[in-house]
Amino acid sequence: MIQETVDSAKVPGAARGGRLPKINPVFFVLAALLVAITLSNPNFVEPMGYMNFLKRAAPLAILAAGQIYVIVSGGFDLSVGSVITLTVVGSSMLLNNNADAAWWVIPVMYAVGLAVGVVNGLVVSYLRVPSLIATLGMMITLNGAAFMWSSGSPRGYLPDTFRFFGRVNIQGIPLIQFLPVALLVLIVVGIGLFWLMHRTNLGRLLHAIGDNPRAAQMSGVPLERVRIIAFVVSSLSAVTAGILLGGFAGVSTDVGVGYELQAITACVIGGAQLLGGRGSVPASIAGALTLTAIFTLLNFIGLPKPVRDVVQGVILIVAVVLATYRRNRAGRT
């Protein structure tokens, strides 16, 4: 059934492709998946259904919206998962059960994120370490730091003041009944990152250095500075994702594991080019929603786990093929 729905998404996508090549196929894939989820579980159209989905997808969506900055500039940021872990573990250590401390702990975690981004950027720009290696090193270092800090057993719970962002639903909203704070965060961050990438000069410079760094440098783009900013945006988005994840599910020492690859996958599903120069914030967010939708759909269908993994892999490949197809078409026009 899944295969059918994916195919049916491809057909209108391809048909319209001729006239409207600018519509990213990720939105069709996402729409098809949402229809499939609704068919398999009609409760999904209730606010409880789709709002939970959006709340759960918010951390990954924010992470992907940050990661796309680094990918567009021609790099990868593998350290985001460990920044998430460090945020959750570090916050629980600093908060130490004190609900009133959230107001200064959150800025401290953003400062840590800023520092991580600057270091990543400096190492990549000035020491000429490939971003894959630089951020892999950072990932290992930060995981070690989180472990050293907490000895693997963080002290303190995350109080409700901290968990507000990831867990609370604002009740009593007309039409939709309630609104998760996490979704509000996603909307605000998403609009901010969209504006920065697609409406400012920085966005143009990012695309330029990702497309052809040499040409960009010759034409006077401050390569190093732009790269550092990209890594900082990515790290700060990881801190935000960490605050949401810690809020959603509480303290856990491996909360960020695997998120770096999921974020990169989300960007690729959204049509980003892995070697830089192409990618967009809304498409990356849609990619993250698509990824979460795949997980949710397969949970709902209730297939046995091995079958689910196979189907999940196939859907992922199909989604990326569609994205590449669109890119190639757009490239010719």
């Binding site: 629980s92 303290v251 856990s252 709902f300």
Partner: protein, 374 residues
């Protein structure tokens, strides 16, 4: 990264299917034996389960007798989860109780079979060890390394097992069936017949976890409970909460059975956030779960895989080196479950949320600071 690991693991599993088929995780005889042991009386001093044991078979250790002071070597599978962190802290504190121990050499395999095999090699070749304690990462991979070590010095294995009888003794609590029985019987006795049970497990393929699940499933089948799903959470809070939310959208859940309770609080929060009454649940002795249980008063049980078992290898090592007999070839110790009646004994808001209450560590040196408590 976890995805990659899972892929690599499944490939490895696939390659070793021939071997996997020989493993039996649903053995009625072992099920019955462990069920009996849960209520049997153990030998040894009252109130100190880490030196208690079932049965009366002893291992003769006269040939290992040696003058002190001793160097104890410990090859650890890893300190990669909260359970192992508590256990490792217990072990270090236990060493401080034994003046005849000069040094504890600890090598951490960080969850890798290869590293642990070479760790053991290094320890043997270093020539400093009076005795070797091993907590194996996986059973099959570590068996040859342990056999090699047995030829050189006395070896004590604990926690997970190996496929050889060469160690002086293998220290462990009752076992996976026991855990599954305690949790399964509680659910079966508390929930009405035909109730919907969601089974949450961490990862597939680990013997102590597979037997927990098979024991519970056997009981659910006997009592006519409806298992609505069996899901792997990988020990991740966010994933656990998402899975439970999805199941709640599909229908009602009367009880949640878990093979490891680290993520129990996340599972409960899925009910809270959907404004539903909390289900019957089986957790573990992690403080965050015990605290919530006490605060909310839902129907629960916390079977344990007690971390006090980390004290026993040190006690055994000193006995072996003094030539005193120890329970062997297996030293099986009690495996208590925390119930609503005994809950108050174990809840302690001075300890961190990931601390494991069944540590038997309250009278050890540096308690509670070394365990992160106040």
């Amino acid at each position: 990264m976890k995805k990659l690991l899972t892929a690599a693991l499944s490939a490895a599993l696939f390659a070793s299917t021939a071997q996997a088929q020989q493993l039996n995780f649903d053995d009625p005889a072992e099920f019955a034996r462990q069920r009996e042991m849960l209520t049997a009386k153990a030998n040894g001093p009252e109130g100190e389960p880490w030196v208690q044991y079932y049965g009366d078979q002893m291992a003769d250790t006269a040939k290992y007798k040696k003058e002190g002071p001793y160097t104890i070597c410990f090859s650890n599978a890893g300190v990669n989860n909260a359970w192992r962190v508590t256990g490792w802290t217990n072990m270090q504190a236990e060493v401080k109780l034994h003046p005849e121990i000069k040094e504890l050499i600890h090598v951490d395999a960080e969850g890798s079979d290869d590293k642990q095999i070479s760790d053991i090699d290094d320890l043997i070749n270093g020539g400093k060890c009076s005795v070797l304690i091993v907590s194996p990462n996986t059973t099959a991979a570590l068996t040859p390394a342990v056999e090699k070590a047995c030829a050189k010095l006395p070896v004590i294995v604990f926690d997970r097992g190996v496929n050889t009888k060469c160690p002086v003794t293998f220290i462990h609590p009752v076992g996976g069936y026991g855990f599954g029985i305690q949790a399964g019987e509680f659910v079966a006795a508390t929930a009405p017949a035909g109730a919907n049970v969601l089974m949450l497990r961490i990862v597939p393929g680990v013997d102590v976890l597979e037997t927990r699940a098979s024991a519970a499933k056997r009981i659910f089948k006997e009592k006519g409970l409806n298992v609505i799903g069996e899901e792997f959470t990988e020990g991740d809070n966010a994933k656990t909460k998402s899975i439970v939310e999805d199941y709640l959208q599909r229908g009602s859940i009367d009880a949640i059975w878990m093979d490891a309770g680290a993520t129990a609080v996340a599972a409960l929060e899925a009910f809270e956030d959907s404004s539903l009454p909390l289900p019957i649940i089986t957790g573990e002795d992690q403080q965050d779960f015990l605290m919530k249980w006490k605060a909310e008063g839902f129907k629960a049980i916390a079977p344990t895989y007690p971390t006090y078992q980390w004290r026993t290898p040190i006690i055994a090592a000193v006995k072996v080196l003094k030539g005193e007999a120890v329970p062997g070839p297996e030293w099986v110790m009690p495996q208590p479950a925390i119930t609503a009646e005994t809950l108050d004994l174990y809840v302690n808001d001075k300890m961190p949320p990931l601390h494991h209450a069944m540590c038997g560590c309250e009278k050890l040196p540096d308690y509670p600071a070394a365990w992160g408590g106040q």
